[in-house]
Symmetry: C2
DNA sequence: TGTACATCAGTGAACGCGCGTTCACTGATGTAC
DNA sequence: TGTACATCAGTGAACGCGCGTTCACTGATGTAC
């Protein structure tokens, strides 16, 4: 006797609906206060129903985190897909700009993946880390292309210490041979963009900056001058 | 009839003790889960006693935030106070290094002031913002000294757009005339340092970096090459 | 085609928990005379 | 010096709240014959 298939038509799509409402509530008051009961309430559903879809609150949070990384990865990919491959500065700028754009638009998603870890929640690394790595792929690809074209001005950076070279070597092996300087520059490009975005999202940019985007634009342009 | 003075000797210093335990608990499990009852429990004190010292949980949090900013400001000041005034690169490096050092040592304090805002807590800007600005003073001072010595390589940065110039001009007025480029460079120096530190503290640096300090060192040295 | 039956998504009550805050109190302390 | 008294830091009980999770259930659905 085969198990009866779910009657998809009978009921609203709860699997998706739960996540939709969860995102909505996260957008309103942050991930730390996300509660199954509040989600159920807004769905006009009994709280235990959610357990038919997610075995626990933490599993729902994990699913949301993965979705957030995928959403970011997609935004980054899209930002460069229509730019000619050889327009290096434009591509790098577009990535940085899209990163901030996504972060500002979905600031609570951004904080969910990059902010203070949620109390009493531990992300399962084997699920969460691949998603995080995927989000970095477009950036590494763009920098790799610049490097391959011989346009990356590596000499403008402080020399690689042996210790750092060793660590980057390990990373190189794991990525199937991407040049250490590419990995390094991707990492620090990310950290520079991340730093400004994080300050903006958490409200630490002095209020004189009516439009933090201008600050961001100059920083990105400075990065271009420095990298290429 | 004058009010009776508190009997300081009779009891332990609860005003300080409350904060000490609060810091301890924040260090253990983060600021988001800080609870008056838990603090009282660890102090072997009835929970309502705390209300003799702080009118509400939020006021305690505010006091902690101010302390955290002061602690950071102090660490930054100390890092440069024994360096000769004309050793510009060393001073800038020391500031960045001390920033990371403080952040790594007191990561939960760092997250308290720079991480995801605590849910259902709103910091009173008039208390919190001056403390935050004070923490920036040593950095601005060092960059100002470099600028005054004519050693700041402003031409290496992307040109100032009119919009950004206007915003920096407002900031300049509020600071009593500090040159806009000084303010700008202080802001982006901070954001670069902050970006790497934040990634490290939230566990986003790839695990291949056994010692993220090396990553940080190269970034700081690169900043020095670029700034001076 | 009709009927007995297995499935299982959703339910409502309940458990135990911890929280911030209020309230009337109590009892040691220091003061005024 | 001794005593009546005002002070007020700390107390214990209580309020109302929301949470994650468990449990036995129910009833519409689809299936096997």
């Amino acid at each position: 006797m085969s198990p009866r298939p779910r009657n998809e038509a009978r009921l609203p799509d709860l699997l998706g609906g739960i996540k939709d409402i969860a995102w909505k509530q996260i957008a309103e008051s942050g991930a730390a206060t996300l509660s199954l009961r509040a989600v159920a309430r807004e769905l006009n559903i009994a709280a235990p129903s959610i357990y038919n879809y997610y075995p626990s609150r933490d599993d729902l949070v994990t699913a949301l985190i993965v979705d957030a990384y995928n959403s970011l990865a997609e935004a980054l990919s899209e930002s460069v897909e229509n730019l000619p491959a050889e327009q290096f500065p434009e591509r790098l700028f577009a990535l940085g700009w899209a990163y901030r754009q996504w972060a500002v638009t979905y600031s609570q998603r951004y904080l969910l993946i990059f902010g203070t870890p949620i109390p009493n929640y531990h992300a399962p690394d084997e699920i969460t880390m691949p998603a995080a790595e995927r989000a970095m792929v477009p950036l590494v690809a763009v920098i790799q292309a610049i490097f391959a074209a011989g346009r990356l001005r590596v000499e403008r950076f402080a020399p690689l210490t042996p210790e750092l070279a060793t660590m980057l070597g390990q990373w190189q092996q794991a990525t199937g041979g991407i040049h250490p300087e590419i990995l390094y520059l991707a990492q620090v490009f990310w950290s520079r963009v991340h730093g400004l975005v994080m300050l903006e999202i958490t409200g630490q940019i002095p209020s004189f900056f009516d439009d933090p985007a201008e600050l961001f634009r100059r920083e990105l342009n400075t990065i271009l001058i420095q990298y290429l």
